[in-house]
């Protein structure tokens, strides 16, 4: 049969179509109703050797039927030698496919992070791509049980709501300091900057509340900064979005924008870091007990934040935890081979902070009487 004949042409078309049909990957077909999508995942310490993982699956209303589960979700926990092992054991119990590809948040037990470090429990996410590396990451203080098993008082869609807690377009604030998995990995491999991740605990009214942010020293959590102290991190890294601060005198200002100018140099073998932070703010509420003018308020804010910053720097320096990434600015003068020395160098660093706050307006009611 010649290819130019009518049948020959049809045969050629068929030969072209068959391989394209094979390219669609039908081997992977798993319909959405045959999957259980993980919304949030938790990793807790089990005993000396193993871990317990927690997962929370949203259950669509259509599938709830007449069962006793009308909470809109299902929480499950599983022990295992490693996270991957625990997931395997969980699969042995599940009626449907365990799908981690939509996981919105990954939590790790605070104690586990302090005693064993976190990276070895998360490494599988980079290698296998079963878990999105853009999932948010946080540490949990206390028992993981209530966070996973209690219905979310503000509504279900468990995983999504967990993420919304941190997202700026929803419940996120600068203090909540949204951190994603890939950011955790980035800092794990970078001795010039340490991890700084949110610490949350179960809340009475809502699902959980922000306890603070934990700074890391190497792979392990080394200490906690309060939400107020965490603001310094946001100020220095330039991530502070509209946020309210109350002064000692009782006035409230709203920080509109902030920018930090950081100059780095070496002075007598020690890093010399000079930070000037410019804060643009507006007045929300004046003090009702002690009338203050614009200059007073600006000076008070400067002093408040400078004192707070000095404390944050001394605490993190004592634990050799450069969460601000100052070390990255020394890449040009510190050869790669010496990067490992940075935590010790950060401890000796001379850091000076100067705040320049500027009140752009006083709201709709003027300050002067």
């Amino acid at each position: 049969m010649r290819l130019s004949s009518k049948w020959g042409r049809w045969l050629a078309v068929l030969c072209l179509l068959v391989p394209t049909a094979l390219l669609q990957g039908c081997w992977d077909i798993r319909d959405i109703d045959n999957r259980m999508l993980v919304g949030a995942m938790g990793i807790a310490r089990d005993d000396e050797r193993g871990v317990t993982i927690w997962v929370r699956f949203p259950i669509p209303h259509a599938q709830q039927g007449t069962t006793s589960n009308d909470k809109g979700f299902l929480a499950a926990s599983q022990r295992g030698k490693t996270v991957v092992d625990a997931l395997d054991r969980l699969r042995a119990r599940m009626p449907k496919y365990l799908d981690l590809s939509q996981t919105r948040a990954v939590f790790v037990d605070k104690k586990l992070a302090e005693e064993k470090g976190i990276y070895s429990f998360l490494d599988f996410a980079v290698r296998d791509r079963i878990l999105p590396i853009s999932a948010v990451f946080a540490l949990i203080e206390g028992d993981m049980d209530p966070i996973f098993t209690r219905p979310n008082p503000s509504g279900e869609l468990s995983g999504v709501y967990t993420r919304l807690f941190f997202e700026k377009y929803a419940g996120g604030t600068p203090q909540k300091n949204k951190v994603t998995l890939w950011q955790v990995f980035n800092k794990h491999y970078n001795p010039l900057q340490q991890n700084f991740v949110p610490l949350i605990a179960a809340d009475d009214t809502f699902q959980f509340y922000l306890k603070g942010n934990m700074y890391f020293s190497g792979d392990r959590a080394a200490g906690t900064l309060t939400p107020d102290e965490s603001l310094i991190y946001e100020l220095v890294t330039g991530k502070l979005s509209p946020f309210e601060i109350e002064t000692a005198g009782g006035a409230n200002v709203k920080v509109e924008t902030s920018s930090a100018r950081i100059r780095t140099a070496w002075a007598e073998g020690r890093p010399d870091i000079d930070i000037v932070i410019r804060v643009v703010m507006k007045l929300m509420d004046a003090s009702h007990t002690k009338p203050m003018n614009k200059q007073n308020i600006e000076q008070t804010i400067d002093r408040l934040l400078e004192d707070r910053a000095a404390k944050v720097f001394s605490v993190t320096q004592a634990r050799e935890s450069d969460i601000f990434g100052f070390g990255n600015r020394f890449r040009a003068s510190l050869p790669t081979a010496r990067h490992k020395e940075w935590p010790a160098l950060y401890r000796q660093a001379k850091i000076s902070v100067k705040l320049e706050s500027h009140m752009v307006n006083e709201g709709l009611k003027l300050l002067r009487q």
Binding site: A12, C15, L16, P19, T20, L22, L23, G25, C26, W27, D28, V126, R129, P132, I133, S134, E167, Y169, T180, W182, F185, N186, K187, H188, Y189, N190, P191, Q193, G325, N328, R329, R331, A332, T336
Partner: protein
Amino acid sequence: MNDAALRLSSTQFFILILAVFGATSYFLYPYLVLHSTEGSYWMPILTGVLVGVLGAKTFSGLMALHPGLDAFAVLRRTLGLPGLLLFALPFAWHVWRAMVMIARAHAEIISMTILHATPLWALHCIVFVAMFLAAGGIASIVRAAAVFIVVGIPVTVGLTLLGFSDLDFTLHEPWDPGHLSFLDSRAFYSSSYVWVGFLYLSSCGQHARRPDRLWLPYTAAAACFLPVMFGTVYLPVLTFGPAFSKVLAFPFLTKMDSISHYWLIVENLTAVFISAAILFVILTLSLMMHSLVAALRAILPFLPARPAYAIVGIGTYVSALLIPSWDWIEKGVWLETPVRLYLLALPPLVLLLARLAKGRGARA
């Protein structure tokens, strides 16, 4: 249209080269560049592109020795049968190995990232798509290229632009121009597979109006693709830091994974990206197959065209399936390097010999 009489414009050559760059510079390339030097990643990239442009210039000089002929016929006319064999044999070997590795690497990437359960024998079927395209002649390849580029380039450019999210410029390493350590790194020479795209135009010599200007579309394509090449290396570095980027097998794919925006409808950017890259891979494979068949038929003139394509297609498919592991691909790219560099060095040598011969002829 009669294939032999077909004249391709510079734009069409430009599109073909663009497809070759698109197929080769995303996957293994960032890994190789990151491992070739400590911090000045721009140097191996620029050096590579410069070597590529010089290679293309001498190659088009070679083609211009006898306008209207393909590279194999030119060599045969200039240096006789030994000259043809000195070029066509290593060329055929190189193209065959390159096709096998590109097909297998892409199948592995699809298997690692989006289709975990699909068997490799099914994923390798793109070889046959490329085979049919190549068998249609250079006209079909060029027409398909125009359509694929219209789809593929906006997607890849868009994704590269999206890659600008979450950059931290304090993570960059010094742009030290004195950092020449890449010159004695294996990874740098392995990455040379990206520069030699012009070689796959060997079978297109007779389609060029001005073969001596063939290097211009190559240079234009390289210049257009240069920002993307920088992006594939620097976007992961400025997001993940150099240390984390270096431990990743495909830094650019992981970078795609890390992008998450409230306003972005597509969640799995990696899948979009790989799907767009498949188009480039199919085009490149077909162009390579076309030149391989031309090389085989130059050595064995009695070989009929259609069976030659079938043999090459099936041969590539089977050899790609026989590769045992990813490590082998990395090793293969390195082991292939001497042949590649030889092919890069051959055109200037031939030009020199031709000039000497001409000079001697003139004296005589």
